[in-house]
């Protein structure tokens, strides 16, 4: 399209062109009716303008044939729109059986994605060109919506359930990823990029596990994980809120709700994270979710390092 003043976004997926075709059809129909109605109004206004205050136009009650015509034509047109739209819609949401699966979690205010190779990403998603990719979406808090304009696709990530969406990138390059469902203060920052790589390049890329986290010191990575994994929501050192304050926790005495006391060593902290129901701190509800499977061991180590550092 026109580079200076684009009206249609990049077409970077197999279905983008199909959606645009339908869009153009709709524009065609609309333009036809708009021009027709506009022209008629202008013509009538000039042709039948009031020339004297005593004008008394003749009465016209209606015209049944005409009315049938302008009921049936739109009816046929909208039926075409419906069928075309529905067929394409099913295509948009029927992933091919061989699609590569990526897990996507939305949370205030970022996207977390995990590749089949196990590699995690945040707010950026690398995908291979020419291979169908199926995303399984969920959310940890409120509803978000995974939106890639260049692929003409969008799906809500709903807490408590899994939804799916798929696409087949057809052009390499970087494309916008947006959160399209309003989700709170930084909704407009919950965006990122989709990087479409040549297939081999993607395979190489996916095999390199965790370069980001490895570059940070364990303490930094732990701190980062502590916010990114949502620990802050309940263990904010400032407010404490839902969960006990973990500042100064390390090696302190903790009273449990069954009356026992334990010393909060590394093992205890680790168990609190992966098996939170095992030992409940006195005065708190057993609401902490388990992080088993979400944090790999190295990440657990990093978080524990961070908690230990809190004085």
């Amino acid at each position: 399209m026109n580079e200076r003043f684009p009206v249609i976004p990049d077409q970077a997926s197999a279905l983008a062109r199909d959606v645009d075709m339908l869009y153009l059809f709709l524009i065609g129909v609309s333009a036809f009716f708009l021009i027709l109605i506009g022209a008629l109004i202008i013509w009538f206004v000039f042709r039948f303008r009031r020339t004297s205050d005593t004008d008394r136009p003749a009465e016209i009650h209606g015209h049944t044939k005409l009315e049938i015509v302008w009921t049936v034509i739109p009816l046929v047109l909208v039926l075409i729109m419906f069928v075309w739209g529905a067929v394409l819609f099913f295509k948009q949401f029927r992933p091919p059986a061989d699609a590569m699966e990526i897990l996507v979690t939305g949370k205030q205010w970022m996207w977390k994605m995990q590749h089949p190779s196990g590699r995690w990403e945040i707010n950026e998603l690398h995908v291979p060109v020419g291979r169908p990719v199926k995303l399984t979406l969920t959310s940890e808090d409120v509803i978000h919506s995974f939106y890639v304009p260049a692929f003409r696709t969008k799906m809500d990530a709903v807490p408590g359930r899994y939804t799916t969406v798929w696409f087949e990138p057809t052009r390499t390059g970087s494309y916008h990823l947006f959160c399209a469902e309003y989700c709170g203060a930084e909704h407009s920052l919950m965006k990122g990029w989709i990087h479409v790589l040549p297939a081999e390049e993607y395979d190489d890329w996916a095999a390199r596990i965790d370069p980001d986290l490895a570059e940070l010191t364990p303490l930094e990575a732990g701190e980062r994980l502590f916010t990114e994994m949502g620990c802050m929501a309940c263990h904010n050192p400032a407010s404490g809120a839902l969960g006990p304050n973990v500042v100064g926790l390390y090696m302190s005495e903790v009273r449990l709700d069954d009356g026992r006391t334990v010393i909060a060593d590394e093992d205890y902290i680790r168990q609190s994270i992966v098996e939170p129901m095992a030992k409940i701190v006195e005065g708190y509800q057993p609401i902490m979710p388990t992080y088993r499977g979400q944090l790999d061991e190295s990440q657990l180590m990093q978080i524990i390092t961070y908690i230990k550092s809190l004085e």
């Binding site: 099913f90 295509k91 949401f93 029927r94």
Partner: protein, 104 residues
């Protein structure tokens, strides 16, 4: 609009009969609930409740003797409710279905 200039006054007996019918249906609905009819327990319970509501509306609320427009208004409320329920359920009931296959 109304068919009657003077309001219809139903005989006492009508009210007592309706009352008796409501009582019988109440006993019936508790009694039926003691059997395992699978999904039909709800169906039966709601049907009995609907019958009860219907006779309350007809006799206690005098719709039987009222103008058509009252009929229509009373029916509109219930019909709209049923449509709301039906279309919402249409979503929840078909969520598990797979997309229509290929040629679509």
């Amino acid at each position: 609009m109304s068919d009657h200039a003077e309001p219809h006054i139903a005989p006492l007996k009508t009210y007592l009969n309706v009352f008796a019918a409501l009582m019988v249906l109440t006993v019936l609905t508790v009694w039926v609930a003691l059997f395992d009819l699978g999904p039909f327990n709800v169906v039966v319970a709601v049907t009995i409740a609907t019958v009860k509501a219907y006779i309350v509306i007809l006799y206690f609320m005098h719709v039987k003797y009222s103008a058509k427009i009252i009929w229509l208004t009373a029916a509109a409320g219930f019909v709209w409710f049923i449509l709301m329920l039906a279309l919402t359920l249409a979503d929840f009931a078909t969520r598990g279905w797979l997309p229509i296959p290929e040629p679509w």
